[in-house]
Amino acid sequence: MSLLEIKNLHVEVEDKKILNGLNLTIEKGQVAAIMGPNGSGKSTLSYVLAGKDAYNITEGDILLDGESILELAPDERAAKGVFLAFQYPVEVPGVATMTFLRTALNAQRKLRGEGEYSTPDFIKLVRETSAKLGVSQEHLRRAVNVGFSGGEKKRNEILQMAILQPRLAILDETDSGLDIDALKTVSEGVNRLRSPERSMIVITHYQRLLNYIVPDVVHVMSKGRVVKSGGKELALELEAKGYAQYTDEAA
C-alpha cells in the first residue's frame, strides 16, 4: 500500500480555488520533489496535509496508510507521523525550545500509546541530534525561534523532524533564505533521515536544493494540480526551460 494517496483534491480559501483536482501518490521510503511556479498551490498542499484549518476541502480525499485523515486535527496527524517543516517557522515567545520539543515528543508518544521519554534520555537525544545539525545549546535555551536568523529557524525545523521521527515529512521551501553553507547542513540533516520507513515531500521552487536532496521522483504542479511527473532529470529540464510550458498546458 502507498503511504500517502491524494485523490482528486479540491481546496478553496475564502471562495478562491487553490487546489483543483490534485492527484498524488507517495510510496513508502520515497523522496518526492514537488516543483512549480509561484501560486501553483504548493504551500497550500503542505498546509492541507498538516491539517491547518481555514482551508475548505470541497472534494476529494487524503489517505494515509489507506485511511482518510481529513477529519483529523493537526496533532492527531502528527501522531500518525505527518510532519511539516514550515517555509516560515513562527516565533513562539515565552515557550522555551526544550519545553516545546519535549511537550511535542511526549504528546505524540502518548497519542500513540507509547511511554514518555525520561528527562535524561530526552536531554541526551536532543544533545546528540542538535550537535549534528549545528544547533547550539544556547538556541535550545531560548524561546522557540525567537531571535533566530532565517537559517537557524530552518535548522530548528530539521532538528524537530529528527527528534519527532515522522513517517511523512513535508519540507516546504526549506531552501528559501538559506546561504550555501546552511543549505548543505540542512540537506545533510535531511539526508541522514532518509530511510525505507520514511517518505518525504520536498517542495521547492528551484532545482538547487535537489542537488543536495536527490529525489526519487519529481512532480510538477501548476494551477492546483500535478501536471507532469518524472525522474530527477525532470528538475534539470525545468531549470533549463522554465515553467512556462506547464502553465500554458494547464490553462
Binding site: P74, G94, A104
Partner: protein, 436 residues
C-alpha cells in the same frame, strides 16, 4: 448645603450608614482616631458608593454591583479560626512569617510572633485603641485621596496589621499576611500600616481568600529613603473585594509590587503611589486570570512628585467566558520631577468572544525632560502559533495552555525572588489546568 443633586441612597448605602452609626462608639480608637473616622464618613456620605459617573470607577460601578451591605464582621469563633489554619496555601512553601486574619480580625495565637530585632508587629485594633504614635503619624496621611472606597474604609476600619521595620533592618523572612474568612458572610473593613524605615529591607505578601463576604481593605505603606520593599498580593475571593494600596516612597528606594487575581469574583485593586524622593525605582506588575462572570479592575495613580525616578507598570490579563478585566493606569509627572522615566504596558488575551477587556492608560506630564511611554493591547491567541504547536503533536488545550503560560510568563518572570516567582507561576498553572 451643596446644590448638587444627590441620588437617593441605595439600600447598601443606607445599610453602611446605619452600620457606621451603630458601630461608631465601639470601633477602636477615640479622640483623633474618632475624628478621622467622622471626617472620612462625612466624605463617604457626601459621595456615596463609587459609581460609573466617577471617572476612576467608570467600569466598576460599585453602587450598582453592591445590592446590599452585609453586616459588619464579628470576631471569629474557634471553628472559624481552625478552618483558617490552612489558608494562604499559595505562599505556604516560602517559609514566611505568617500572620493570620479571619474576617479581618487579627488572630495572634495562630500567628508567628517570634521576636526579630528591628521588627515590630501589632494589630491595628490595638494600635487605634491606644492611639499608637506610628498610627497617629501615618494612618489617613500616607496618600490623601478623595476616593470614597478609601473613605469608607477609614470610617469603619476595625483591624489589620501594623508593621514597623526599623532603619537598616533586613528582615530574615518574608511576612505573609493571610486573610481568611469564616463561613458567615460579612463585611470587613481591614486597615494595615507598614512602615519600612531608611535602608531597611522587607518582603511582604498578602493572600486573600474568602466566601461571599464583602472585603474593603486598605494598606498604607511608607518606604523610607534607601529602603527596599517587595510586595505580593494574591486574591482568590468569592465575594466583593475592594483593596486600596496607599504608598509613599522616599529617595533612592526600590519597590516592586505584584498582584495575582485568579478565581476572584469581583475585585477592585487600586493603588495610589507617590514618588516623594529622588532616585527611586518602582515596579507595579500583575497577572489576572478570569473566567465565568468574574470582574477584576486594576486602577492606579502613580504620582512622580520628585525627579530622577523610574517606574514600570506591566499588567497581563487572560479572559475566558464572559469575564471582564479593567485596567486604568494614570501616571502624573509633577512640574519639577525632571528625568522621570516611566513605561506602562497592559495586555489582554481574550479566549472568548464574550469576554471584555478595557484598557485605559493615561499620562499627565507637567515636566519637560522625561521619558514616559505606554502601550495597551487586546487580542486573541494567534491561530498561526497554535497551528505550529499542534502540527508537532501538541493537542488543542495544551497548545493554548503553553501560549497562555508564555503570555503571562513574560510578566511573572520579572519577579526577582525565585520562591515567589515559582509560587505565582504554580498558581497560574493550576488555573490553566482547571480550564474547561
Amino acid at each position: 448645603m451643596n446644590a448638587e443633586v444627590r441620588a437617593i441612597k441605595t439600600s447598601a448605602e443606607q445599610a453602611l450608614t446605619s452600620a457606621y452609626e451603630a458601630a461608631r462608639a465601639s470601633l477602636p480608637g477615640k479622640g483623633a482616631v474618632a475624628a478621622l473616622r467622622e471626617e472620612a464618613f462625612k466624605r463617604f456620605d457626601a459621595k456615596g458608593l463609587p459609581h460609573r459617573r466617577v471617572e476612576e470607577w467608570k467600569y466598576t460601578d460599585l453602587r450598582a454591583l453592591m445590592r446590599d451591605a452585609l453586616p459588619l464582621a464579628v470576631p471569629p469563633d474557634a471553628a472559624a479560626k481552625a478552618k483558617a489554619k490552612d489558608a494562604g496555601k499559595i505562599f505556604a512553601a516560602l517559609n514566611c512569617r505568617r500572620l493570620l486574619f479571619v474576617d479581618g480580625a487579627f488572630v495572634p495565637e495562630a500567628s508567628d510572633l517570634t521576636p526579630e530585632p528591628g521588627l515590630t508587629i501589632g494589630s491595628m485594633a490595638d494600635a487605634l485603641a491606644k492611639n499608637d504614635a506610628l498610627v497617629a503619624a501615618h494612618v489617613g496621611k500616607v496618600f490623601e485621596t478623595g476616593d470614597s472606597a478609601v473613605a469608607l474604609n477609614t470610617s469603619l476600619m476595625s483591624d489589620g496589621a501594623v508593621i514597623h521595620v526599623a532603619a537598616g533592618t533586613v528582615l530574615e523572612r518574608p511576612i505573609h499576611l493571610v486573610f481568611a474568612s469564616s463561613e458567615t458572610p460579612s463585611a470587613a473593613f481591614i486597615r494595615s500600616l507598614i512602615v519600612v524605615e531608611k535602608d531597611a529591607q522587607a518582603i511582604i505578601a498578602e493572600s486573600h481568600e474568602s466566601n461571599v463576604s464583602q472585603i474593603n481593605c486598605a494598606l498604607e505603606m511608607v518606604i523610607g529613603d534607601g529602603a527596599q520593599v517587595d510586595y505580593y498580593k494574591a486574591t482568590q475571593t468569592r465575594g466583593l473585594h475592594v483593596a486600596s494600596l496607599l504608598l509613599t516612597v522616599g529617595a533612592k528606594a526600590a519597590f516592586n509590587t505584584f498582584a495575582l487575581n485568579s478565581d476572584a469574583s469581583l475585585v477592585r485593586n487600586q493603588s495610589f503611589v507617590r514618588f516623594a524622593g529622588e532616585g527611586s525605582n518602582g515596579g507595579l506588575r500583575g497577572v489576572n486570570l478570569l473566567r465565568g462572570k468574574e470582574h477584576v479592575d486594576t486602577t492606579m495613580l502613580i504620582e512622580h512628585a520628585a525627579g530622577h525616578c523610574a517606574s514600570r507598570e506591566q499588567f497581563k490579563s487572560v479572559l475566558d467566558g464572559q469575564s471582564h478585566n479593567v485596567f486604568q493606569g494614570k501616571i502624573v509627572v509633577k512640574p519639577h520631577a525632571q528625568k522621570t522615566d516611566t513605561k506602562m504596558m497592559t495586555r489582554a488575551l481574550l479566549l472568548s468572544d464574550e469576554a471584555e477587556a478595557d484598557n485605559k492608560p493615561e499620562l499627565e506630564i507637567f515636566a519637560d525632560d522625561v521619558v514616559c511611554g505606554h502601550g495597551a493591547t487586546a487580542g486573541a491567541l494567534d491561530p498561526n502559533l497554535k497551528f505550529y504547536l499542534m502540527s508537532r503533536g501538541i493537542d488543542d488545550k495544551q497548545a493554548e495552555a503553553l501560549l497562555i503560560q508564555a503570555f503571562i510568563g513574560e510578566t511573572v518572570e520579572e519577579i526577582s525572588h525565585e520562591g515567589f516567582r515559582e509560587a505565582i507561576m504554580r498558581a497560574a498553572l493550576e488555573w490553566l489546568e482547571t480550564r474547561g
